[in-house]
C-alpha cells in the first residue's frame, strides 16, 4: 500500500503515490475556494481536502478562455481566493476513506453548457456524485485510465470510483493514440471510462491488451460497430454503456443500446411525449434548472421498448446543442461570439456529421464590408471560446438562410 500509485499525470510530469498524497494533505494549510488548475494532482488533492474539511468549492475547467471566465464573473482575484484549514488532525491512509465519507454538507459546483449561452451552475453533493460508485475487495486492484476532463461530471465520477477504492489513476485525457497505448501497457490499466470519440481514436486494431477488464462508454450515442472493434483491442473487457448528465449524474447503464431502468428509480424517472424526465430528487442543486412540477426535462428523446421494467433507447436531443465528441456546444453561444466582432453582420452556426467526433461545428458568416479575414476572426474567437466550440470550417457567404419562421436553420 505504502508505495501504491495515486496518480500519474504525463502533462505535469508527475507521479504521486498514496503516501505522497497523504503527506500533501497533512501539510496543506489552505485550499483554493475555486479550483482552476491544469495539474490533476492539485485538483484532486484540493477536492479531497475540501471534503475532509467540509468546505463547499467550485471547480472550473482550465480550458475556459479569459472571456468565458469573465462572463462567469470570475476575475483573477476570485480565482486566487484561499481558505485556511486547520490541519491539526492527522490524515492517514487507514482513515482517509472514513474521513471522506464523514462529510456532512460538502458541495462541489460545476458549470455546464447552458441553452441560453451562459453556462449553468450546478452544485452536487457527495451522495449524488458517488451514487454509481461501487466499492469492494474485488475492486481494490483496479487501475483507472482517466479519459475525461476532471472538471466535468464524468471525470469526477471516475475520480471518486478510483479514490474510494484507493485505486491508481492514470491520466489519458489529452494524450495521443501512441501515448495512450503505451500508458495502458506500462501501468497495466484495468478500467477505462471514456466517450465513443476517445475509443474511435484508438482504432484501428493493432495489438490486444488483455489487462483491460472494463470499458465504459458514455456522453454520446452508442455505436455498435465501434463496440465490435473494441472487442479486438480489449478482448478481456466487459463493455458498459452509461447515460449520465451534468444535471443528474449517472442514471442508466447497459451492455448494449437499450437501457433498463433500475427498480429503485421507478418513481424517479418518467417519459413525457418521448422526452426523458428525471425527478428533482435525482438532480443536483441549482437555481438555474427549471422544474416542471418537480420533474427535470432532460431534452433527450427516447423510444420505449418495454414498459415493465421500463426499457428505452435514445433517439436524439430535443434542443439544438451540438455534440462534438461528447462535449456540448451551444450554437447560439457561438453565433453571439461571432456577431460580437465589429466586422460581422450575421452568422449561422450548425453541425456537420462525421464518423470521428459525431459532429463538428461549422459557421456561415456574412461580413459588413470586405476585409475581414478568417485568421483574424479565429484569433478573435479563441479569446472568447473554448477550443472545441470554435467552428472548424468558416464559410464567408453573401446571405444566410432562415426557416419560414425567421429562425436560423440548424442543418
Amino acid at each position: 500500500m505504502r508505495n501504491k500509485l495515486f496518480i500519474f499525470d504525463p502533462f505535469s510530469h508527475t507521479e504521486y503515490t498514496y503516501t505522497g498524497l497523504i503527506y500533501s494533505l497533512n501539510t496543506s494549510i489552505e485550499i483554493n475556494k475555486i479550483i482552476h488548475s491544469a495539474d490533476y494532482f492539485e485538483i484532486f488533492r484540493d477536492i479531497i481536502l475540501s471534503i475532509i474539511y467540509d468546505i463547499p468549492i467550485t471547480l472550473i475547467d482550465y480550458g475556459l478562455s479569459q472571456q468565458e471566465l469573465s462572463n462567469l464573473g470570475l476575475n483573477e482575484e476570485a480565482l486566487s481566493e484561499k481558505i485556511s484549514i486547520d490541519n491539526s488532525n492527522p490524515i492517514e491512509i487507514s482513515n482517509l476513506i472514513s474521513l471522506i465519507k464523514a462529510n456532512r454538507k460538502w458541495q462541489i459546483t460545476l458549470y455546464t453548457s447552458g441553452t441560453t449561452g451562459t453556462p449553468k451552475r450546478i452544485a452536487h453533493s457527495f451522495e449524488s456524485l458517488t451514487r454509481s460508485v461501487r466499492t469492494g475487495e474485488h475492486k481494490s486492484g483496479d487501475i483507472w485510465g482517466l479519459a475525461y476532463n476532471p472538471a466535468h461530471i464524468a471525470g469526477l465520477q471516475v475520480f471518486f470510483q478510483a479514490l474510494l477504492n484507493l485505486n491508481s489513476i492514470i491520466r489519458l485525457f489529452g494524450s495521443s493514440r501512441a501515448e495512450i497505448y503505451s500508458h495502458i501497457k506500462e501501468y497495466s490499466i484495468t478500467c477505462i471510462s471514456a466517450t465513443p470519440t476517445f475509443y474511435r481514436l484508438l482504432l484501428p486494431f493493432e495489438e490486444s491488451f488483455n489487462n483491460v477488464k472494463r470499458i465504459t462508454s458514455g456522453g454520446e450515442k452508442f455505436d455498435t460497430k465501434l463496440t465490435e472493434e473494441l472487442r479486438h483491442i480489449f478482448p478481456e473487457a466487459k463493455l458498459l454503456n452509461i447515460y449520465a448528465s451534468t444535471e443528474a449524474g449517472t442514471i442508466f447503464a447497459s451492455v448494449n443500446d437499450s437501457f433498463i431502468l433500475k427498480e429503485e428509480y421507478n418513481t424517479l424517472v418518467k417519459i413525457v411525449d418521448l422526452e426523458l424526465c428525471i425527478h428533482k430528487n435525482l438532480v443536483g442543486i441549482s437555481d438555474e434548472i427549471t422544474f416542471d412540477n418537480e420533474w427535470y426535462r432532460t431534452g433527450d428523446l427516447v423510444e420505449v421498448i418495454n414498459n415493465n421494467p421500463l426499457t428505452i433507447k435514445f433517439i436524439s436531443r430535443k434542443n439544438e446543442m451540438i455534440n462534438v465528441g461528447g462535449y456540448k456546444v451551444n450554437p447560439t453561444e457561438v453565433e453571439l461570439s461571432l456577431n460580437s466582432h465589429p466586422g460581422v453582420a450575421l452568422s449561422r452556426v450548425f453541425a456537420k456529421r462525421n464518423s470521428i467526433t459525431g459532429n463538428i461545428v461549422i459557421a456561415e458568416v456574412m461580413i459588413k464590408e470586405p476585409g475581414l479575414e478568417e485568421k483574424a476572426l479565429r484569433i478573435f474567437l479563441s479569446e472568447r471560446l473554448q477550443l472545441y466550440k470554435i467552428p472548424r470550417i468558416i464559410n464567408f457567404v453573401d446571405s444566410i438562410e432562415t426557416t419560414h419562421t425567421g429562425k436560423l436553420r440548424r442543418s
Binding site: R200, P204, N354, I356, T357, I360, K375, I393
Partner: protein
C-alpha cells in the same frame, strides 16, 4: 490538380487554422496522428473537408492512419 495536391491544400488549411507550419509536400507514408499531430477535431475537420471535395467519407469503414490510405479511399471512390 492531382488528388495529392488537393489533399495537401486541405491539410495545410487545417494547419493554418491551428497556427502550425504548412507542409511543402506530403508523402503517402506520412502518418496523420503521429507526424501531423492531428487530434480528433483535426481528423473530424479533415473528413468533412474531404467529403465536401471528393464525396467520400474516409473514416466510414474504420480509421485510416496515413496520407496514402486517405488517397486510396479517394481513388476507390473513382473506381466505384
Amino acid at each position: 490538380m492531382r488528388d495529392i495536391e488537393l489533399l495537401t491544400e486541405i491539410i495545410n488549411s487545417i494547419k493554418d487554422n491551428n497556427n502550425t507550419s504548412r507542409l511543402d509536400n506530403i508523402k503517402p507514408e506520412t502518418n496523420l496522428r503521429d507526424q501531423l499531430s492531428f487530434d480528433s477535431l483535426d481528423l473530424a475537420e479533415l473528413t468533412v473537408r474531404i467529403e465536401q471535395k471528393f464525396g467520400v467519407d474516409i473514416f466510414e469503414n474504420g480509421v485510416v492512419l496515413t496520407v496514402g490510405e486517405v488517397l486510396d479511399k479517394i481513388k476507390g471512390r473513382d473506381e466505384k
